[in-house]
């Protein structure tokens, strides 16, 4: 049974076989599989969002040399549970002049796009809700649907702050999506595939951030910047710049609808970090150093999904670190930074990657 901790694909296969064995109807099997995957992901997502909120607060507090939430549970670890309960208990308000359908739909779109994206992520071998051969592209597309939710929220609230915040968010996300996509593309050039499992397997010999040396590092830097902007996090959080727009697009939201935005935001942080970990840092692949067999054996002892979450956690910490390190950009600086510097740079990086690949001038191959 311990083996299943490592060979998760065998675990999935065994479960599959068990299902088929005990339930004859293929329909029911499929339905159970779907329900199980959805339930698992939902649980994961909600727990993770809570943890992330707590972590964010703690990290922020410690950066500012204070303790942060300490009352509920040891070191306040149940603080977010309490917060969630409070949010759920609150009254759901819809502004009188809002477009009610869209107003209700907006947080759903945001959350759904984030939630569906999680389904494409490879947590461990075989441990992936949806396995398509174009996973990377899909996850980019699906997560970019979130911006529609933000725009819808801003527009349907019938509030100037909301609308402006939504417009800013839209402009920002669309712009930075380009850089993020191009940065990933310059590594895809090396990988030759956009199937997540294949991507991870292609890093058997080494992580792409090293193997694609200069290009990989630069792509990682660009992707980190762009994805931070995509998530509307500081230093790119002018979307909800409190001093200018009160709370941006979700000014009018409360209760569970607000919670969905909140959830989606943290999920997005998790997703971009997961993509980054998968593409640049080998995903669930343990860290290996050629020639250091004992060390490699030692690393192999850690299960793949732990590797994955470890890497993701480290990257999330990096993103949170940003938040308390850099000052917020002005909206024109933001757009100029993307279109005049980041995007040309990522285009050049892509070209460089193409040159490196065609000349075969990189490590481990």
């Amino acid at each position: 049974m311990v083996n299943y901790l490592y060979q998760t694909d065998q675990l999935i296969a065994a479960m599959n076989a068990w299902l088929h064995q005990h339930i004859g109807n293929i329909w029911v099997v499929e339905a159970i599989k779907i329900a199980a995957a959805t339930a698992t992901l939902a649980g994961l997502v909600s727990v993770m969002a809570m943890v992330l909120v707590w972590v964010e607060r703690k990290v922020a507090a410690h950066f500012q040399q204070r303790l942060g939430p300490m009352r509920v549970g040891p070191h306040g670890i149940f603080q977010t549970v309490a917060d969630s309960l409070k949010l759920m208990a609150k009254e759901s308000i819809t502004p009188r002049d809002a477009d009610e359908l869209i107003y209700t739909l907006a947080p759903l779109i945001c959350f759904a796009s984030a939630f569906v994206s999680v389904g494409f992520l490879p947590f461990a071998p075989g441990l992936q809700a949806v396995n398509v051969n174009v996973g990377l592209l899909f996850i980019l597309g699906v997560s970019s649907m979130g911006v529609l939710g933000i725009l819808a929220a801003g527009w349907s609230s019938n509030n100037k702050w909301s609308l402006l915040g939504a417009m800013r968010a839209g402009a920002q996300i669309i712009s930075y999506e380009l850089s993020a996509g191009l940065a990933l593309l310059s590594v895809v050039v090396f990988m030759g595939t956009i199937d997540f499992q294949e991507i991870v397997k292609s890093q058997q010999a080494g992580w792409w951030i090293w193997r694609a040396h200069g290009v990989g590092v630069l792509a990682f830097v660009i992707y980190t910047i762009a994805s931070t902007a995509e998530c509307n996090r500081t230093p790119f959080d002018i979307v909800e710049a409190e001093s200018e727009l009160t709370a941006g697009f979700h000014t009018e939201y409360s209760s569970m609808k607000f919670a969905m935005f909140f959830l989606a935001e943290f999920l997005n942080v998790f997703i971009v970090c997961a993509i980054s970990a998968t593409v640049f840092f080998g995903g669930w692949m343990p860290f290996h150093i050629g020639g250091f067999e004992p060390l490699n054996r030692l690393f192999d002892l850690i299960p793949p999904w732990l590797w994955f979450f470890g890497k993701v956690t480290a990257l999330i910490y990096l993103v949170m670190w940003f938040r308390w390190t850099f000052p917020r950009l002005r909206v024109d600086q933001l757009i100029r930074f993307e279109w005049k510097y980041l995007m040309p740079l990522s285009l050049l990086n892509l070209a460089a990657g193409a040159v490196v690949v065609t000349t075969g001038w990189y490590f481990f191959r």
Binding site: D99, L137, G141, M145, L148
Partner: protein, 179 residues
């Protein structure tokens, strides 16, 4: 059976959304309907084993075109403007009938035609490798020239859109705050 079930599910979803697109009294709602239609079509592509096209549909159509439209709607429409101009009802009825007739013609022709059996070959649309080869192959059966033409078209559209949409500084028509 499951595929057929999914097909009908998606088809109903798409058709209802499409109907919503063409009848909704509110532009933004139309756009949301379009979003649903596009997602449904992406699902259709998945059913047809065309994962790459499905992904492209999601990335470009939803992430690009619909967002662009929503942006334009944000620029020109107001949430209070729930009812926008409608064609007179007789026109709607007339055209609805004509559309139905047209549909019956199309469907009749399609159902009455006996399509030949599929050649026994592997479906290529799922593999990006095959699509990439086809797109960039200058040889016969390749699409390098259309590909280049499309790239030119996109550049021209980009420049043209920027030029057209930019507020004219001269005649003071740049009422950006209108939105």
């Amino acid at each position: 059976m499951p595929f057929k079930f999914f097909f009908y599910l998606i088809a109903l979803f798409v058709l209802y959304s499409a109907y919503f697109v063409v009848t909704a009294r509110n532009l933004f709602r139309s756009a949301m309907g379009l979003l649903a239609v596009l997602i449904g079509i992406a699902g259709m592509y998945l059913l047809l084993n065309a994962q790459f096209l499905s992904a492209v549909q999601v990335v470009v159509y939803i992430g690009g075109i619909v967002v662009l439209m929503v942006f334009a709607i944000l620029l020109i429409a107001d949430v209070t403007q729930k009812v926008f101009e409608q064609s007179p009802r007789w026109r709607q009825g007339l055209i609805g009938a004509a559309s139905l007739l047209w549909f019956s013609l199309l469907a009749g022709s399609m159902l009455s035609y006996r399509f030949g059996a599929a050649a026994a070959a592997v479906d290529k649309s799922g593999s990006i490798r095959e699509i990439g080869r086809a797109l960039l192959s200058p040889a016969a059966g390749g699409y390098a020239l259309p590909f280049e033409v499309i790239s030119l078209l996109l550049i021209a559209a980009l420049v043209g859109a920027v030029t057209v949409a930019r507020a004219d500084a001269d005649n003071g028509e740049g009422k950006e705050g209108k939105a």
